[in-house]
């Protein structure tokens, strides 16, 4: 362990990861506790989180390690011949299994072409299927518990490249949200997967898997946090809409990652001692450069530097502790240095072996600060930008710099989670501001922008552009004279 610092602030671990993969990783934990009957319930013990995710290697070989199936479907040979060819191919090529026998499938389907068609459908429904990943890191759409399995390397081991553990943190956040009890039945129903596609996945499995491999070590430092509660509330309201098919999942995915990002920023701000709330000046993309865009770029940069500043604040806290101050009172520099090393070892589990500088506390500290910052920038420091982009909040569209410029689908998710039926547009702006710190219109902008930088017109135009965009998406009903209502087309009657 090189350093244990980011982990003390945010947990083990918060890393860049795509929102869908965070969600799927979270489901691997949920699936286990669903199996055990203690879904979203830590039962009073906050650490460790021990679970046994499944691997479903038969299914995954069929779906992802099986390019030959497409050729066979097109060959138009008779069914038996195709089965024979395919089974032989699998026998040769399937991986990470104790036995490569897939003949159990044949009696389950009438024709090989039926099998091939359905496998094709499932493959098309892959999550993030476009990216060119190793086959062991490809995921089928989560139709239910039977679609949930853990990421693996090509030789079937666990690594932390795609599933970085942030999904495990998401699971813990949900457990610790005030809405956990109300979320439980919805999540249970979803995992139970009473639908034909989930059942089809069971048909493709040779036999139910016994138990997975033990996983533990993820760690979330806070028993409660306002962002956990808001996450839970948003998920709950999305579930309550009872959207058709699996439409709710996309919104859960977006909201999940968005709240992890908010948690990341809010915790950073707290450690850094920032008093003002975190806000996001959102540009509704304009054809030309506007004041909103300029301010949003600055606002993005400020928010983006928060987490790095939190790291430094954490170190400052150590160096102003009584122990450290006492160490600095020791007689020789040698003694001071040894004591400081000891403190750092204890506080941040630092491994001294990599240090080659002089035995001087000041130099040592400088080294640590650099090292911590560097390490942070590579992983946790990327969360705000990376998650922001992937959920559709942050964009570089029409510019070279990042700023907040929400996409249609992100806006849709916000509406679904916050407008049960309909809501006056101004009220909606107010709510987005209070709840998430999102700023669109002049009323909110005025509250967060320094007076000398503020102009109302560009923000009014910004709000008007949003109005027009939502209207074209069928999410807004415009009445006359600046009066408009956000409409949730799936709203509760």
């Amino acid at each position: 362990m090189a350093l244990w610092l980011d982990e003390q602030i945010w947990g083990h671990r918060i890393h860049p990861q795509s929102p869908w993969l965070i969600f799927l990783e979270c489901l691997t934990v949920a699936e286990y506790f669903h199996r055990k009957g203690t879904l979203l319930d830590e039962q009073g013990s906050y650490y460790p989180l021990v679970f046994h995710p499944l691997r479903r290697m038969h299914l995954r070989n069929i779906l992802w390690n099986n390019d030959v199936i497409k050729d066979l479907e097109n060959e138009r040979a008779d069914s038996n011949t195709n089965w024979t060819t395919w089974l032989a191919w699998m026998n040769e090529n399937a991986q990470n299994l104790n036995d490569n026998d897939f003949s159990y499938l044949k009696p389950r389907f009438e024709k090989f072409s039926d099998f091939a068609f359905l496998v094709g459908m499932l493959r098309d429904a892959s999550v993030e299927g476009e990216s060119n990943k190793r086959w062991t890191s490809r995921f089928v759409f989560p139709f239910g518990a039977s679609a949930i399995y853990e990421d693996a390397t090509l030789d079937g081991k666990r690594d932390y490249v795609n599933f970085t553990r942030t999904g495990e943190l998401l699971y813990l956040m949900l457990c610790r949200s005030a809405s956990a009890p109300e979320l439980r039945p919805y999540l249970t129903h979803f995992l139970a997967g009473d639908n034909q596609w989930n059942k089809l996945l069971q048909v493709l499995e040779k036999a139910p898997e016994e138990n997975g491999v033990e996983r533990k070590h993820s760690y979330l430092p806070y028993k409660a946090h306002p962002s956990f509660d808001r996450l839970g509330e948003d998920w709950l309201r999305l579930f309550e809409l009872r959207l058709p098919n699996f439409d709710v999942l996309n919104h859960l995915v977006t909201m999940g990652a968005f709240h992890v990002m908010l948690y990341h920023l809010q915790v950073a701000a707290a450690w850094r001692g920032k008093k003002e709330r975190i806000t996001f000046l959102c540009e509704v993309v304009a054809p030309k450069k506007t004041l909103v865009r300029e301010l949003s770029v600055i606002n993005f940069q400020e928010n983006n530097s928060l987490s790095g500043e939190a790291i430094q604040a954490y170190l400052t806290q150590i160096t102003s502790s009584d122990d450290w101050l006492a160490a600095m009172q020791l007689r020789t520099q040698q003694d001071q240095y040894s004591k400081c090393v000891e403190i750092l070892k204890k506080e941040i589990w630092w491994d001294i072996e990599e240090y080659e500088g002089a035995e001087d506390p000041a130099q040592l500290l400088e080294f640590i600060r650099d090292k911590a910052q560097h390490r942070h920038q590579q992983h946790a420091g990327e969360v705000h930008r990376s998650y922001g982009r992937l959920v559709g909040l942050v964009s570089r569209r029409a510019t070279t710099k990042f700023r907040y410029a929400p996409t249609d689908s992100f806006l849709k998710t916000l509406i679904f989670a916050n407008v049960p039926q309909r809501m006056e547009l101004k009220e909606f702006f107010h709510l987005l501001f209070e709840r998430y710190g999102l700023v669109f219109s002049e009323r909110e902008a005025k509250q967060v922008i320094e007076e000398e930088d503020y102009e109302s017109k560009p923000f009014a135009a910004n709000a008007a552009r949003l109005e027009a965009r939502l209207s074209s998406l069928g999410l807004l009903r415009r009445l006359s004279d600046g009066c408009a209502y956000i409409i949730n087309p799936h709203g509760l009657e």
Binding site: L118, Q196, K199, Q202, V203, F246, D481
Partner: protein, 636 residues
Amino acid sequence: MIQPAGSPATKAAPGRNKDQAHNWIRFVRKYGPIPANDSAFEEHTGKAARRAGVAPITFLHPRFAEVLGCLTGQQMLSVILTGTAGDGKTHLCGKVWEALQGDATTWASNNPYINQVLPSGATLHVIRDLSAWVPQQGAEWNQAERELLETFSRSLFETSTTDYFLIAANDGQLIETWRRLPDSEAVNKARSRFEQLLVEDLESLPDVALRFFNLSRGSSAELFDFAIQAFIDHPGWQSCFEGEMGESVAFGDKSPIRRNFELLQEPQLRQRLRDLLELCDYNDLHIPIREILALLVNAVLGHPTCNKDNLMVPTDVAKIIQQGTVAQASIYNNIFGGNLRESRRESIGVFNYLDRFRLGHETTNRIDGILIFGEADEALKEYYDAYLGNDPFYGADASYRLAQSNYVESAEEDNSNSDFLDMLVTQRRALFFKIPASEAQELHLWELTVFRYAGEYLEKVVRTISPPGVGNGKVERAIINRLVRGLNRVIVGMLITDDRKLFLGTSLQSTGAKVSRIYEDAISVNPSRGERVDVVWNGNKPALKVTMNESISESFKLNLVRYEFLSRVAEGALPSSFSRECYEDVLSFKSRLLTALKKRRLQEGVEEDNTLSFQRLRLDESGRPENITIQLNIPA
């Protein structure tokens, strides 16, 4: 002279006549295309009319009788009039006040709140301008005002009351006022009812003693009929065109003002213009009375080089004739605000909406052939003469011929052609109004707009089935089949050729997926076992109605944009300009159809058996869908 005998005008000296005519033009310009969001417009025109010694342009609002009916008779109801600026709310209040024998001086006081005791002993409270009456944003409520609105809110939910209200307010002001009122049960309840009435386009609710007139939901085409009649019949015009003024340069035979005024009275031009406004109605684009009047004033007086507001005054005419720029006063161009600067045009709703037809910018080879080569081409000459050659005002004048010959002879990328291209825009617009109905089909009249199917939509759909119950109008099968084919292609995401059934398909995870390869069901278009698809009248516009059985059906409102979209998709081309919004609309309709289908399965008690099966949807070689059942054996 139609002036009544003995009226001052008949005896007046020539100078007096001229004053009258000029006063009228000066006054009528006040209705012109000035972006005024002025809530005191009514008051200002009243004053200006008195100064000019003319009567304002007025007509009785089509809903007057209904509003008055609420405030008279046995079963009285309070009334709220909402709508956008220029919808005639204040004017309507005034007419009701007058009809109820309200005191004229009280009305003239311009006090936003007035009241009177009705013969029945009840009190009628009139708030003719809510925003002028409530305290400014941030100011405290005055006790009396607060109590009055509280009384009103309570009266809505009481069975008997002696206080009746007539309140005029813009939608936003209404909601904002009730939001700012101190909370009380009645106030909160009233606000949520107002929201519902506004958002759901309702005029009344069962538990609320109120009639709610949203004047922005009325038909602009109907308002147009009233407005143009009142405009043309106004005696002010007589002072211009009759008697000796009628022989003056400003108003004589060669005057574009006179020409435009005459053209405005031609039935075909009026009808085509009305068609455009009616189509705006069906696209949910509302045009208030004030903007209709602005359009009319601009149509008659527009000229791009005149004055700051691009409207002619009588003294401009001599110069215009002399300089040979009469053609620039073309009513055909003025109707679209072509005489106005772009920023001005864009700021006025009606021109903005008319611009969406892209009239003048859309065209066909045939039309442009007539316009550009018609004079020299034997086959086209006949049309050229009829539409350009024989129109001494707005046809092919000297400047047009010059620009045309330069255009034909110049190199392709010559910038000097832009003048001619602008002229072409105006001429295409003119053709839209000139081509007679008998040639409309042959010359593809509606292809001069972006809505190629608009003519069919009006004639064969709207006017065939509305108003419902009159006659037995039915939309042609061929049209319904085309719409269904369009729907099929969007819903399934494949180039289906079948139009006798509406196909419902799904994909795996999301309703919004582009291609559906799983078959759910197909609904017969022709009536069969309770299923059918037809086009019916639904409230204020046509709708495609899909009936699944006698108790389950879903409707898709067919505004013009959706009609055009489905028709074009059925033809095989996806017009990108308005496709996104429509695409989303169709997908949400699909989602409703799937929910309805689920309901029907439940009703019919289709049992979810234990076998696992899938219906595969694919097209055969000729584009006809086929569904294949895949049955699975579940391991024990």
